[in-house]
């Protein structure tokens, strides 16, 4: 494995790992705060138990999210010093603010976790809310940093020099809103479905039904609502990407030749050499419609982009198909949930219903990883779109593959450890929380 590939793989691995923990760390506190609120209002001990059980999960995820995030802030420099040397001051604004948000989050989490029996109920509750709000704020901020890489602004690039730097403009670049919006919704839908799925499994196995039913309901309301909004926000993202990164859009759609009535290709196997897609389903005009709101206007294809500036088409296309496929599926499940809720059916006694959610447990996270693959691989070969190539950014130190192997091992071990711990949390629910608590 050469050093460049190793560096990219290590970065992708670390981010792919971090994103799972950070999304859970961002959304779970919100769920926790809601159940806490219900407990304070109704004094129903089940809600207190849910809050405590979730807060332990949050602590585990937070720690893993925090250490993997710390890794990332170093890895940006360890792997991409050429990038950070120039980009640091330009896109650093969201990172500094993010630092502030994290700090507040960590303090509030400390208060929340250790505050039972120490703090006044409402102060305690507020601490939980602050954890959630600052988590979401950091998510938005860090994604604006990433969106700057897709849509660089706030500086002029003249003769290889970065001048007239304006960090605030860089933060509010053209992509920040659509990307952050889509990301936050994704975090809610993925976490909501995952949490709901686990509780559905427990209901299905007829364990501690009172506990798991209440937990399921809190999680799924958010998950389903977010899943329904997601495709709309995705459409905004795609329109935005088409404007700023036509190469990415073309790779997502595996769309090789510019033409009128541009078709949307569903599925298929892109053949980059022959510049066509085999076995795909083409819907004429739909891509034109999605990008330009009319069926005729041509959409720029890969033929408009010099080969050396084209991203890997197959990976981007497959990842996009996975994300959109899952997105549509999750939206349907969300609609079914709300429909049945509206009909006031007793859903949770129906095995098919529970099974659907059990199967849907990992879907959101798969879509999340796929979505990032679209964004990041679709930006290649650029690390800063149109300004700096990824290969110019990589560290000169040789031997990165060993560091990549090491990291793969560590992330693998950590994932196993977290799954192990969660299993034990769930295993202990009957003993810890289901005695007729007073």
């Amino acid at each position: 494995m050469d050093d460049f590939l190793a560096a990219r793989s290590q970065m992708a691995l670390s981010l792919g790992f971090h994103i799972i923990y950070s999304c859970i760390g961002m959304v779970m506190p919100v769920f926790m705060a809601i159940s806490h609120y219900k407990w304070i209002k109704t004094q129903d001990p089940v809600y207190k138990n849910i809050t405590i059980a979730w807060s332990k999960g949050v602590a585990i995820f937070f720690a893993t999210g925090a250490v993997s995030g710390t890794m990332l802030s170093f890895e940006l420099g360890l792997l991409w010093p050429g990038f950070m040397k120039h980009a640091g001051p330009i896109f650093g604004m969201p990172f500094s603010l993010e630092g502030v948000a994290f700090f507040i989050e960590a303090i509030a989490l400390g208060l929340f976790l250790y505050g039972w029996n120490r703090l006044n109920n409402w102060v305690h509750w507020t601490a939980g809310i602050i954890v959630g709000v600052s988590g979401v704020a950091s998510g938005i901020l860090v994604v604006s940093a990433n969106s700057w890489m897709n849509s660089p602004s706030g500086f002029d690039f003249v003769n290889g020099q970065y001048i007239n730097i304006d960090p605030v403009k860089a933060m509010f670049n053209k992509a920040w809103f659509t990307e952050s919006l889509h990301m936050i919704i994704a975090a809610f839908s993925a976490t909501g479905f995952a949490v709901a799925g686990i509780h559905a499994l427990m209901i299905y196995r007829k364990k501690n039904i009172a506990f798991h039913t209440k937990a399921f309901k809190i999680a799924i309301i958010f998950g389903a609502a977010a899943a329904i909004l997601q495709p709309f926000s995705g459409d905004l993202s795609a329109k935005n990407a088409a404007k700023r990164q036509p190469a990415k859009l073309a790779a997502m759609e595996a769309y090789f030749h510019t033409r009128e009535y541009a078709p949307l290709v569903i599925g298929g196997i892109p053949d980059t050499a022959a510049k066509k897609v085999n076995y795909g389903l083409e819907i004429p005009g739909l891509l034109s419609f999605l990008v330009h709101d009319n069926f005729k206007t041509p959409v720029n294809g890969l033929d408009k982009i010099p080969v050396k500036n084209q991203p890997p088409v197959a990976v981007t296309h497959y990842a996009f198909q996975i994300m959109v496929g899952i997105g549509v599926l999750m939206m349907l499940i969300g609609i079914i949930y709300f429909y049945e809720l509206w009909k006031k059916k007793d859903l949770l006694s129906k095995p098919w219903f529970l099974k659907t959610f059990i199967w849907a447990t990992p879907l959101g996270f798969i879509a999340l990883e796929a979505g990032w693959t679209v964004t990041e691989v679709g930006r290649q070969p650029w690390i800063i779109q149109g300004v700096m190539r990824t290969s110019e950014a990589v560290t000169p130190m040789p031997g990165i593959q060993y560091s990549f192997y090491l990291f793969s091992f560590i992330y693998f071990t950590l994932s196993v450890a977290v799954i192990f711990l969660l299993k034990r949390q769930i295993q202990m629910v009957p003993e810890l929380y289901d005695r007729k608590t007073a």
């Binding site: 420099g77 950070m84 120039h86 630092g99 130190m397």
Partner: protein
């Protein structure tokens, strides 16, 4: 002007990380050197003392990194290139420590075997992390980083693997242990415990003095003019003298076992003085190279817009953070209801 504010925040973050994070590492170091029969008790006190705040302590490191890469990107990227390996090891330590600590506390089933496993990871990584932090700091200042080196070993290994850096590493470990022992003395009420921790603090202090002498010895081998740095300018000299005096006062108070809050303040003061002494003598140089050239905080900074925004961000941020942090510490000083 804003540049100086940013630099002030940088040094403040480093110092606070050293003090608070250091006490936190030290907790693990002490656990490592505690006889098995006392381990249980030690762990309980540690947990009470650092549990609520360890996550916040860790943030000072992140602030340091962010200030470096936003404000001093060239320094940050050069350090990342030549000190890649020690940074990596330190990071592995941070990961292992953080996760082991929280897994140990939040594992729903607390059986002996897994607890012992987490503890193992926790204590060893508590040792490795500050060791490598010290090595990194030592290497930045030791003048062993050689951008002209052409082979791997000289460019990426000897830049940090040298007598001076490594002895600074051990010195850091000893100081962390010392800080932790002192911190915990102020935390418990039990007279026996206090005695035990005072003894531990003394041992760690002796260790620090030994390692400190090693640093001086090594500086001689590596041609680092440490004595010159410290005694060569008045501020550093005064700082070192203040550190020595505070240490003696500390011993006086300890041996009379009076006001325990003062012990903490003095210990923190002593460590600050050591940092100030070295920091001031090197300022504004942050990284020194083998050929005697250096990277200065006053020269290698980002453009003025970024520095201004960073400075404002830090100032506004601290308006939120400091009161919140104060409240956190305060809330846990109160007893459980």
């Amino acid at each position: 002007m804003m540049l100086y504010i940013v630099i002030l925040f940088l040094f403040a973050a480093i110092t606070l990380y050293f003090l608070l994070g250091g006490a936190d590492f030290g907790a693990g170091i002490i656990e490592l050197f505690t006889s098995t029969d006392n381990k249980h008790r030690t762990r309980k006190i540690m947990y009470q003392a650092i549990g609520p705040i360890w996550e916040a302590n860790h943030m000072w490191l992140i602030i340091t990194v962010v200030v470096l890469f936003v404000g001093f990107p060239v320094i940050y990227s050069e350090m990342c290139i030549y000190l890649h390996i020690p940074l990596l090891v330190m990071l592995l330590g941070v990961i292992a420590r953080g996760t082991a600590f929280s897994f140990r506390n939040y594992d729903a089933i607390k059986d002996e075997k897994t607890q012992a496993f987490y503890t193992h990871i926790f204590v060893y990584s508590s040792f490795v992390t500050p060791l490598f932090l010290g090595i990194i700091a030592g290497s930045a200042l030791s003048g062993q980083i050689d951008p002209k080196a052409t082979d791997f070993v000289h460019a990426y290994i000897f830049s940090w693997f040298n007598w001076f850096s490594v002895s600074v590493g051990f010195f850091t470990v000893a100081l962390c242990g010392f800080l932790a022992a002192i911190y915990i003395v102020g935390e418990t009420e039990d007279v026996d415990e206090i005695k035990r921790y005072i003894r531990k603090a003394k041992i760690m202090n002796v260790a620090a003095v030994i390692c400190g002498s090693l640093v001086f010895l090594a500086s001689h081998f590596e041609h680092v003019h440490l004595a010159n740095w410290i005694f060569g300018n008045p501020v550093s000299l005064v700082a070192v003298i203040a550190a020595t005096i505070s240490l003696s006062v500390l011993y006086l108070i300890i041996s009379h076992r009076r006001n325990r809050q003062w012990i903490r303040v003095l210990a923190a003061f002593e460590v600050c003085m050591i940092l100030i002494s070295v920091g001031f003598s090197r300022f504004p140089r942050f990284v020194i190279f083998k050929d005697g050239s250096s990277m200065s905080l006053l020269a290698e900074h980002a453009n003025s817009n970024s520095i201004d925004d960073l400075g404002i961000g830090l100032m506004v941020g601290s308006l939120f953070i400091l009161p919140a942090l104060g409240y956190l510490y305060y809330a846990f000083k109160k007893k459980e209801r």
